[in-house]
């Protein structure tokens, strides 16, 4: 079986810093892969290169049978990859509904004539979209479904994270890249969010997830497999328990020379 996402000798440099160093990665279909490593080891850069925010210096990226090396961000989205950001990146003045629906861009009719002149047809599409957004957010927090047209600016971090995940899931991507979804949340909140992501995945077994996360409890509980990065290089790979016991990994994390 071929991997859903595969990179070969992926390289990314920033001046003298080698953020990704000939990285070979394979993400199997329907797995949850943990991507871990110390700060600055290249995890976010990996997401940025795959999703077309940065271009690669060398190497290849294949997704679902197609070469997407250096594809534009929007082409990557259309191919079925959705990512979240390490720092929350919601559009604060916009409503919950708006923030979620912007993730469903490819399913909404973007033609000028349709949007401006065919308001009745637009209203039907709008009502369907409302239904989709509501159904999704109810999995995470039913109270938010009642406040869909309020700005997100006033919401606490846990709700913002929920909305970001909904925005990622609304388009039913094949691959979800989560960059430290627990950042800014308490332990319990993180656990709750992870359970909700699990619930969604129960319904959609075809969702593959790569998650970057510092809370090792989360990684241990939810991932099928882990890849450990250090200085942009893969230093270990396997089940969490095994990589955690790896001497090289411990050294990387503890900084023991």
């Amino acid at each position: 079986m071929t991997a859903l996402l595969e990179t070969g000798k992926l390289c990314k440099r920033f001046g003298g810093v080698v953020a990704l160093d000939e990285l070979d990665m394979a993400v199997a279909r329907n797995e949850i892969l943990g991507l871990i490593g110390p700060n600055g080891s290249g995890k976010t850069t990996f997401f940025n290169v795959v999703t077309g925010i940065y271009s690669t210096d060398a190497g290849r990226v294949r997704f679902d049978g197609a070469d997407i090396t250096n594809a534009a961000a929007r082409a990557v989205y259309r191919a079925g990859i959705f990512r979240t950001f390490q720092r929350s990146r919601l559009s604060l003045p916009l409503s919950i509904f708006d923030n979620i629906m912007i993730g469903d861009h490819k399913r909404l009719d973007q033609r000028l004539w349709f949007n401006l002149m065919r308001r009745r047809a637009f209203k039907r599409e709008f009502e369907q979209a409302c239904g989709r957004a509501r159904a999704l957010i109810e999995v995470f927090e039913p109270a938010l479904a009642e406040r869909m047209f309020e700005p997100v600016a006033g919401l606490p971090m846990i709700d913002r994270r929920r909305i970001e995940i909904c925005r990622a899931l609304i388009s039913e991507p094949k691959l979800l890249l989560l960059d430290e979804p627990s950042a800014g949340m308490t332990h319990d909140e993180t656990a709750e969010l992870m359970n909700d992501i699990f619930l969604v995945r129960e319904r959609n077994k075809n969702l593959t997830i790569v998650i970057v996360e510092h809370e090792m409890g989360v990684i241990e509980r939810i991932t099928d497999r882990c890849v450990v990065l250090n200085f942009g290089r893969k230093i270990a790979e396997g089940r969490y328990r095994d990589v955690a016991a790896d001497a090289q990994v411990q050294e990387a994390y503890l900084g023991v020379a």
Binding site: D98, H105, L116, F149
Partner: protein
């Protein structure tokens, strides 16, 4: 949360009625002391209403009954025009307000929605105006077509700015538009084809043999010739206003907001950033050009001095004052910015200073403008 007190229609009706009466009084006032007293009264009344939270009720009323109140506002505009039907000066002023509103709505699509700064608004207005001047003099094209061509030319010539506008972000793009505004003026001044610094006369509008530059006689009542232009400009404003609202309340409005607020994230959500910025910039310039083309026929005269960088700043200050992104705010601010200096001759000389102070005060105390844009409601009455 649905604000129950905001669901009533009457606060909206009351405010439109009071504002209409106030505007008539202000326009009719001749003595400087009366005008100043009225202005102070207006400011105090608005401040008091804000204090007493009355404005929230008005806001809710507009959110719920926008269509009804919109129609009522049209009636109110016609009432003001009826009151001053034979007053050339006031009718010209009112027509100016309408066309400045149209131009600023174009600017609003660019700056307010797409976040593309444009400090050359007056230049695109001028392209439309010179189009009217040249085509009305040299050709027999129907004048409505000339107005459309004015818009198209503004959009087309504006497209030379697209590359820098798309390539650079934020303030650099703004600098490019400023450079364009300065170049445009110089270009007009040195070109004798366009009358040089003296400018050109513009033939008035005719439509189906109806000359707009004659007074209208109906049953012994004489209407100012500007009534013709007022009606056409009002129709134009209504059309542009409705389209602006529909644009904002659509997926396209959502796209523009998303890319203005976070371009990188928007690209990750599949948006074609260049396409939407281009569309917003081109459509905005088209609307500004259309307003300019019609305005030239109203004024009967174009000159480089009328389309300077300062005039562009006036358009921007209307947008800032009214509330970026809110078409209602644009119209209210256009009334204030256009009418005030004309009524207060004492300040006319210092009007740029006044605008600057107004904008600074706005940015300091009420950065989202007099009538801030609210969260998107795709359809009226939808809970907000």
């Amino acid at each position: 949360m649905i604000d129950k007190s905001g669901a009533a229609l009457w606060p909206g009706l009351a405010v439109v009625t009071i504002a209409t009466g106030y505007l008539i009084a202000l326009l009719a006032a001749e003595r400087e002391t009366v005008i100043i007293a009225l202005l102070i009264l207006g400011i105090v009344a608005v401040a008091a209403a804000a204090r007493l939270k009355l404005l929230d009720a008005v806001h809710g009323s507009f959110a719920r009954h926008e269509d009804t109140l919109g129609r009522f506002a049209i009636v109110a505009a016609l009432a003001v025009a009826a009151f001053f039907h034979d007053d050339h000066f006031v009718m010209l002023l009112l027509t100016t307000v309408l066309l400045y509103s149209v131009a600023t709505l174009g600017l609003n699509i660019q700056i307010g929605y797409a976040g593309v700064l444009n400090f050359a608004g007056a230049s695109f207005f001028g392209i439309g105006a010179y189009t009217s001047a040249v085509l009305n003099a040299q050709t027999a094209l129907p004048h409505l077509l000339v107005i459309a061509i004015g818009g198209l030319l503004a959009a087309l010539i504006g497209s030379v700015l697209l590359l820098p506008v798309l390539r650079t972000r934020g303030h650099y793009a703004a600098v490019v538009t400023i450079a364009f505004a300065l170049l445009f003026r110089t270009f007009l001044e040195v070109n004798d084809v366009f009358g040089g610094p003296q400018g050109m006369q513009v033939k008035g509008m005719t439509m189906l043999g109806w000359s707009f530059n004659d007074n209208i006689e109906i049953g012994g009542v004489t209407l100012s010739l500007y009534m013709n232009y007022f009606v056409v400009s009002l129709l134009l404003l209504i059309g542009v206003f409705v389209l602006t609202q529909r644009l904002e309340r659509s997926w396209i409005g959502l796209n523009l907001d998303a890319l203005r607020l976070d371009e990188t994230a928007a690209a990750c959500f599949g948006l074609d950033i260049a396409r939407w910025k281009t569309a917003a910039f081109v459509v905005g310039n088209f609307l500004i050009g259309v307003a300019g083309a019609l305005f030239a026929m109203v004024g009967g005269f174009v000159a480089p001095n009328n389309y300077t960088f300062e005039d562009s700043l006036i358009l921007v200050s209307i947008l800032l004052l009214g509330g970026i992104g809110n078409p209602w705010g644009v119209v209210v601010a256009a009334v204030i910015v256009v009418v005030l200096p004309e009524k207060l001759q004492a300040i006319a000389e210092y009007r740029f200073l006044l605008y600057a102070l107004m904008v600074i005060a706005m940015l300091l105390f009420r950065p989202s403008g007099l009538l801030p844009r609210s969260v998107r409601r795709y359809f009226p009455g939808q809970p907000s």
